[in-house]
């Protein structure tokens, strides 16, 4: 599904160079649910952004669903984001002036679906997250957890192969966080690959595979480690 090899990302400003990722290699198979953990500033978001084609990497190779992504045009990358990827953000990133229906509609319009198909997909995905009855509501009229569910519905409506989530529960209390996590698990159970960055060890422990990022490099922790060990690795780093 996703294959990064010897990838590096360097941020250059006129003063400093930040090596956000170096010699970063990882393979994620179809159907996996990967939790990415690591200290602040270690490069988790950078990894997710590159995986999600929001940023370009500096060196190395990256293949997504069999497509080599180095040197693609912006238009092509936009189309891939639209068709193959779904995003869930910490801050939900709903458009405040559009109701739920129109929010979920945003990526579908870029896809060029017919009005009929869009309507059907919007209704199905809002149903899936349990908010079909509030289609005409605006984001400000929902709780945080509900807003994140709408964002998930928006990510799902295009039937992506890979769902990318950067701290999807970071702004939610533990109750709502659990609800969102359960939703993600059911999505994964339906076959969608998920990569989720999280600071919450409890959530990370629920996934089958944990990836630990330290100082721009990846330490893959398959399920051999239990929760405590993950914590320890992070501390010793």
């Amino acid at each position: 599904m996703l294959k990064m090899n010897g990838l590096s990302k360097v941020y250059r400003t006129h003063l400093v160079e930040t090596h956000a990722l170096r010699e970063f290699s990882i393979t994620v198979d179809e159907g996996e649910f990967v939790a990415v953990t690591g200290p602040s500033g270690s490069g988790k978001t950078t990894f997710l952004n590159i995986a999600g084609l929001l940023e370009e990497h500096t060196e190395g190779s990256y293949q997504l669903d069999g497509i080599e992504l180095t040197g693609l045009s912006d238009r092509k990358r936009s189309a891939l984001r639209n068709e193959k990827l779904g995003f869930i953000f910490q801050g939900f990133n709903l458009i405040p002036d559009l109701n739920l229906f129109d929010n979920v509609d945003v990526p579908l319009r870029y896809r060029g679906f017919s009005a009929k198909e869009r309507k059907q997909r919007i209704e199905t995905s809002l149903e899936q997250v349990g908010l079909a009855s509030r289609m005409k509501h605006f984001p400000s009229e929902l709780s945080g957890g509900q807003q994140q569910r709408v964002a998930i519905a928006r990510a799902l409506a295009g039937e992506p192969k890979l769902l990318l989530a950067d701290e999807p529960t970071g702004n939610l209390d533990s109750n709502m966080a659990r609800g969102v996590m359960e939703l993600l698990e059911s999505i994964n159970a339906n076959g969608t690959t998920i990569i989720m960055v999280t600071h919450d060890p409890e959530l990370a422990a629920r996934t089958r595979r944990n990836v630990h990022v330290i100082d721009g490099q990846v330490t893959d922790l398959r399920t051999v480690f239990n929760n405590d060990n993950v914590e320890r690795t992070a501390e010793t780093a």
Partner: protein, 411 residues
């Protein structure tokens, strides 16, 4: 393009929409009417006097003593002027087209003034009329030298013959369609108590009166009478120069005439360009002022759009990043802002068109301006829409270049 969601967003945040649409509407209303007025003024400015403007000058003199023989002086001066190198022709007259001063009187096609009395300008001319002014005689003939007499201010004006402008001819004799047929007709003047007539011997095309006339359209109605005027100790000549000789003549003619006869005061000559300049001064001023107003309004309008859209782009940076993350291309973002701006400008243009017509209606009744042609409205609307599109380009391109990573990076 996806107009519906953009429109919904605008409706939910109507402040910017109302602000810019109002600005566009007011700008349009003012610009349309200003353009219309400018165009009328430009028409005024480019008016043709009907004489050979490029080669014509006017010069006046006053004698110093009461015993001075004006008739001799005029006869000698004209002979002298015609003998000067660079002079094509010269005659004595009272006034020229566009000069803002002259004579006018009511005339009629009937002795009892039944029918209509038409206001007309009166000019004095001699047998050199066609040569001296370069007017376009389209029917009949010019004056003969034996028809010319001196005219003193104390005299009754009693010309036996006259030459009229085609416009006056056809106004007096609306049944005739050919100026040729007016030749030989009688024109009555002098009022009901003391009616006198002059026989029309010629018709001139497109000659203008000294002034435009407010209540009645005197501007195209002109009568030439066969006299050399003597206004007390004062008279004036119109001189037509050979092609290219006018500047020279303007420089020397005052000295030449003074040297020829030093018993009078010769005034500085006025080339016709001076006369025209004074005549169109107000129109020019108005056209210039309104042009500046239009340019300023368009600029303010553009700045308003740039300001608001720039603010929106900054405010929506995260939203733009999110849209990019969800699959929007740069082009999608660009068209979003162009479309949004187009919607706002179009709403403004529609309201503005209604305002413009209302404003024009008021101007029509209050200042008797003419009705606004639709083409002005369409032209101004297009101009505003175009300006809006140009103005929105800079902020829209900034929006287009917002990085998709903003979706995850900004708070």
């Amino acid at each position: 393009m996806d107009i519906k969601p953009i429109f919904k967003t605008l409706i939910r945040n109507p402040v910017g929409l109302v602000l810019i649409a109002t600005q566009v509407a007011l700008t349009l209303a003012i610009i349309v009417n200003s353009l219309f007025i400018i165009n009328q003024r430009l028409d005024n400015i480019s008016v043709k006097s009907g004489i050979d403007e490029d080669n014509t000058l006017m010069i006046s003199f006053s004698s110093l003593s009461d015993s001075y023989n004006m008739e001799n002086a005029i006869a000698n001066d004209l002979a002298f002027l015609k003998s000067l190198p660079g002079v094509n022709s010269a005659m004595a007259t009272n006034s020229l087209p566009l000069s803002n001063s002259g004579w006018s009187s009511g005339v009629s096609s009937q002795s009892d003034y039944k029918g209509v009395e038409i206001g007309s300008a009166f000019y004095f001319a001699d047998e050199t009329l066609v040569d001296t002014l370069g007017v376009d005689l389209i029917a009949g003939r010019s004056f003969r030298s034996e028809e010319i007499s001196y005219y003193y201010l104390s005299d009754e004006l009693e010309p036996p013959v006259c030459i009229v402008s085609a416009d006056l001819a056809l106004t007096l004799f609306p049944d005739l369609n050919n100026p040729e047929e007016v030749v030989g007709k009688k024109i009555w003047y002098g009022g009901v108590e003391n009616p006198k007539f002059a026989e029309v011997i010629g018709v001139i095309n497109d000659i203008k009166a000294p002034w435009r006339g407010w209540s009645e359209p005197i501007f195209n109605r002109v009568i030439y009478v066969p006299h050399k005027p003597i206004f007390g100790k004062f008279s004036r000549y119109v001189v037509r120069a050979e092609n290219g000789q006018l500047d020279n003549l303007v420089k020397n003619i005052q000295t030449e005439l003074s040297n020829f006869d030093d018993q009078r005061v010769i005034r500085p000559p006025r080339p016709f360009s001076d006369i025209r300049e004074v005549f169109v001064r107000n129109d020019k001023g108005m056209a210039t002022t309104l042009t500046i107003v239009i340019v300023l309004l368009l600029l303010i309008n553009a700045l308003g759009i740039i300001g608001l859209v720039s603010f929106w782009v900054t405010q929506r940076t995260k939203q733009i990043g999110t849209r990019r993350a969800l699959g929007a291309t740069k082009f999608d973002i660009l068209t979003y802002f162009l479309t949004e701006n187009l919607i706002i400008t179009c709403i403004g243009v529609i309201i503005g068109s209604i305002l413009a017509m209302a404003l024009n209606n008021w101007l029509v009744t209050a200042f008797s301006l003419s009705k606004l042609p639709m083409s002005y409205l369409l032209g101004s609307a297009l101009l505003l829409i175009l300006m809006g599109m140009i103005a929105v380009c800079a902020p829209a391109m900034r929006a287009m270049n917002v990085q998709p990573a903003v979706a995850t990076r900004s708070v």
